[in-house]
């Protein structure tokens, strides 16, 4: 029983992580010669994937877990917003956005952590 308990996360990794992810790489390899990057299917796929990933990200900020939970929601929200504004203002630099967000979160956490 012990061995299966240790093995389970790896089984889940293959079945729920590797296979559902890798299938698209193989579809690309076998089926898609000459598919236009602006075709309607690709456009819909990109929109769904974008909404899905920003949904996950927003959930990570709003319903924080673990040590991020010790930082109040208002601080997490302000830090994300400030970081995003910095990203837009400083030549759409990912690095600038992340750095600004982190500084704001640390400053807010330092003063308001529960």
């Amino acid at each position: 029983m012990m061995a299966s308990a240790e093995l389970w996360p790896y089984v889940a990794l293959i079945l729920l992580g590797f296979l559902p992810n890798e299938v698209w790489r193989f579809l690309g390899l076998w089926l898609a010669r000459g598919l236009d990057e602006d075709s309607q299917i690709v456009l819909i796929a990109r929109a769904v994937a974008t909404a899905l990933i920003t949904g996950v990200v927003a959930k990570l900020i709003v319903f924080a877990t673990g040590s991020l939970e010790t930082i109040p929601f208002s601080v997490r929200f302000a830090a994300a917003l400030g970081g995003f504004i910095a990203f837009l203002a400083i030549r759409r630099s990912v690095f600038a956005g992340v750095a600004a967000g982190e500084v704001l979160l640390l400053a807010g956490g330092f003063f308001f952590a529960r």
Binding site: Y10, L27, A47, V48, K59
Partner: protein, 242 residues
């Protein structure tokens, strides 16, 4: 037409690829992202080795974020698999666009499987930028070097983040956990090229927490389908009106 970059051997092209990976902007982005993922994996009770394995077999940070956060909270298996799969659709057109560039050096089916598996945003962006300027017979070796450079970076920083999260005071550990949403928010925004992308981006941010708040079943799937569908609908409407 400028002279194509030449190499004395395939080995030299491979190491040049690794160098290119370590000195590109994605080195920092990957470092930050995987430190964050390391902290996330630690937070949800996974081991550091599991994270390293997931980095190597999945090799797509969004899918890893989804897998870790859903598996860790005990979501339905079918929902996890579909959510991971939906996040990976972008790999499909990327593979299609990349293969013609590296095809000259391809020998075995193993080469096709490996290049396809290595395809990820960082490797893809740099490959499409750099490979056209390299002699065709050295492109595959260079691309392998680039991929190995990025993947090793991700694995190492995953370990770093995991162990930092284990030993840091709460406020600093919180800052590490914040790396994942912050870097994904900005890098996804940077990939937004047209109005449809910006709409999908915004709908996702609003719908994700909203549907979870009202405890709608399979909330992530609905976020993707409704948010992406709405964005596409508005896009078509705008096209029809202009």
């Amino acid at each position: 037409m400028a002279e194509l970059r030449d190499f004395p051997s395939k080995r030299a092209a491979f190491f040049a690829g690794m160098r290119a990976a370590w000195f590109s902007v994605f080195f920092l982005v990957l470092g930050g992202t995987y430190i964050g993922l390391g902290a996330l994996a630690h937070d949800f009770g996974f081991t550091a080795w599991w994270l390293a394995a997931s980095t190597m077999v999945i090799w797509a940070a969004p899918a890893q974020v989804i897998l870790i956060s859903t598996l860790g909270t005990g979501a339905a298996f079918l929902e996890i698999a579909i959510a991971v799969s939906l996040s990976a659709v972008r790999l499909f057109p990327m593979v299609v666009a990349l293969l013609p560039l590296v095809r000259p050096g391809m020998k075995t089916k193993g080469d096709y499987a490996l290049v396809t598996h290595f395809t990820s945003v960082s490797m893809w962006v740099e490959s499409l930028r750099l490979l056209p300027g390299i002699k065709p017979e050295f492109r595959l070796a260079f691309c392998y070097g680039l991929s190995v450079g990025y993947m090793s970076t991700a694995v190492v920083f995953g370990f770093v983040g995991f162990h930092l999260a284990a030993g840091l005071p709460p406020v600093l550990a919180a800052a590490l956990l914040f790396l994942t949403p912050m870097s994904f928010l900005t890098s996804t925004a940077r990939n937004c090229r047209e109005m449809i992308d910006i709409l999908a981006f915004t709908f996702g941010i609003v719908l994700g927490p909203l549907l979870a708040w009202y405890q709608v079943g399979l909330d992530l799937l609905w976020t993707g389908v409704i948010g992406g569908g709405l964005a596409y609908g508005v896009h078509r409407l705008r096209e029809a009106l202009t």
